[in-house]
């Protein structure tokens, strides 16, 4: 399995090069600037029809990901393309040898996401998203649309389905003295390139890891499968969870394409029950997360 920390950190002092697909769009432009401000090494942009131009007079723009990869050797790409063009753009990236694809777009059709995942598997690549705020190692690299202020470097991994709750809960953690070694948005879609269990596999062997915070929400069974894995692997480090949508009505999509309860499938009760079974305390409110985490750490 590709080591996400190695991919994000790179080797030696050189920062990992990152490509931005859809760099000239309004959203892409804004967030490319913010990522550069944070210190992310953006080396190239891709916008079909704008090859040869430069972004902010410094970053070269290419027609295809292949040209950008050939010129820069980048293995990471972040996508800001409209959902309708997602599949084509993702194929372009994976065929060009991208190993970590950060898929920001919301509203990507499920079948397109599934096709992308099949191709990524074939190519030995990882996709995070779609509909993810991205991934970051605080103070080192930010590949995504999250604001910088909630995050501080430390030893807790935060894995979240929701964007704003990732910011809110990370902020609560940071102000309580729990910095983060990585924060990763799973995405709010029904189908995720990196599932909660995959994200767990990515972080569980991180040597300095003190604990994991899982921010879940109604819909699907990612939380249940995650809890089962914790039981099966007898993982002992502290984990705390939060589940949004306990009081949401059934059979209604609550903002995220994936946030829907069908029968008992996807219900908050089912998730909380499984977390409890795995001895993972579930916070009732976001502010309780650091308190529960501190409690778990003391008990250890």
């Amino acid at each position: 399995m590709t080591d996400i920390f190695e991919l994000l950190k790179g080797k030696g002092s050189e920062k990992q090069p990152v490509i931005v697909q859809g760099i000239t769009g309004k959203f892409g432009t804004r967030h490319t600037k913010l990522m550069m401000e944070y210190g992310t090494n953006i080396v190239a942009g891709v916008t079909p029809g704008k090859g040869g131009q430069k972004f902010e007079n410094s970053v070269p723009i290419y027609e295809t990901v292949k040209e950008a990869v050939d010129a820069t050797g980048a293995k990471i790409s972040i996508m800001f393309v409209p959902a309708k063009f997602f599949l084509g753009a993702a194929k372009d990236a994976l065929e060009a040898g991208i190993k970590l694809l950060i898929a920001i777009p919301e509203h990507v059709p499920v079948q397109d996401a599934m096709k992308t995942i099949e191709l990524a598997k074939e190519k030995g690549a990882i996709m995070i998203g779609p509909n993810t705020p991205g991934v970051m190692i605080p103070d080192l690299i930010k590949i995504g649309i999250m604001p910088a202020s909630p995050f501080k470097f430390g030893n807790v991994a935060v894995l979240s389905k929701s964007g704003t709750l990732l910011y809110e809960i990370s902020n609560n953690l940071s102000t309580s003295g729990f910095g983060q070694c990585i924060t990763l948005g799973i995405g709010g879609d029904p189908i995720n390139g990196t599932r909660l269990i995959d994200a767990f596999d990515m972080v569980k062997d991180y040597p300095d890891l003190d604990g994991i915070v899982v921010v879940g929400e109604i819909g699907g069974d990612a939380e249940e499968v995650f809890a089962q894995k914790i039981i099966d692997e007898n993982f002992k480090k502290p984990i705390v969870a939060y589940v949004a949508g306990r009081k949401a009505p059934k059979e209604k999509r609550m903002g995220h394409a994936g946030a829907i309860v069908m029968g008992n499938y996807g219900s908050a009760e089912s998730k909380i029950e499984m977390f409890t079974k795995a001895n993972i305390p579930v916070a009732k409110r976001p502010v309780e997360v650091p308190i529960l985490l501190a409690g778990k750490m003391e008990k250890k």
Binding site: P109, Q111, I145, A248
Partner: protein, 368 residues
Amino acid sequence: MRLLEYQAKELFKEYDIRVPESIASKDIESGRKDAEKIGYPFVIKAQVPVGGRGKAGGIQKCHNEDEFELKYPEILNMTIKGEKTRAILLEKMTEYEKEIYLSLFLNRSKRCYTVISSAEGGVEIESVKDQVIQEVGLGEVTEKVAKEVAQKIGLTENSIPHFVDILQKLSKLTVEKEAELTEINPLVILKDGSMMALDGKMMTDDNSNFRHKELAKYQEKTELEKKAEESGFSLVELDGNIAVIGNGAGLVMSTLDMLTDNGGKAACFLDVGGTATTESVYEALTLISKMKDVKAVLVNLYGGIVKTSIVASAFLKAYDDKIIVLPVFARLMGAESEKSKEMLKDSETKLSPSIEEAINNVVMEVNK
């Protein structure tokens, strides 16, 4: 999109899956004509986008005109689990030997389509013990796999070919219409071993709507939901009296949970989305002002991509234009929250440092 039974059955017919003779209507005048065409006795079925209508009295047998005149309006005016009846389906009664269960659904953790089938049908699948579950990749079910499923649920030799045929057609329908779920419950076995879909449920992927113009006619949205979609935010109408607004689906759900825990009742879930502007938030406030029964507004923002000042400007404009006359309770955090608090300090908005406090205040306000 959640299709109603009659809509799912229209698609079943298109894909050559047998269904009983039936006609849908939305008023009793058309219903009377349908009744004549179908002939007594038949079943009157409430068309609602929610399960459990049978238990709620939404499915009733009808033997003659007197019963029809009584039951049609009764079922048409029903509200089942908060959902009003959208239409009425009159359906010919079918004689059958056995009810079974069949569905294809998007298995989110396995990231593939999955067939679920059982020799027990007509009840909620959660309560069925002997389910056969078979993963089928991107959705196309081969004859071989369909046969395996048929054998596993213990069908007799003369039923197997019918089952294989229906499952393959259902998988074609599921993949082509990009559904997250297609369900036939019950699928019934007739005397001659052939099969018929007595009910139908389908949930399609809204994000693929742009590829399916043919399904647009099934879209059932309220005026408010349509307006919300046009403005780029998500709105779910609920039956309480406190409008809940925030940015990000997770944060708004979390706010709704905490509000309900503290005895408040939400009138709506409104996520202004990641691309909110002053104009779109103003539009959101306009929508809320048109909702009935709303007594107060609860705002929870964590500014990041959407700056809280964008929302603050929208509120100021809405106050100026007298769009909001309701009391507003807000918590503002993150990007530009200090600036926003300054902007709103002389307005009617009551700011709280924490969401807990804002919730306590809004609950007290509506209960006073």
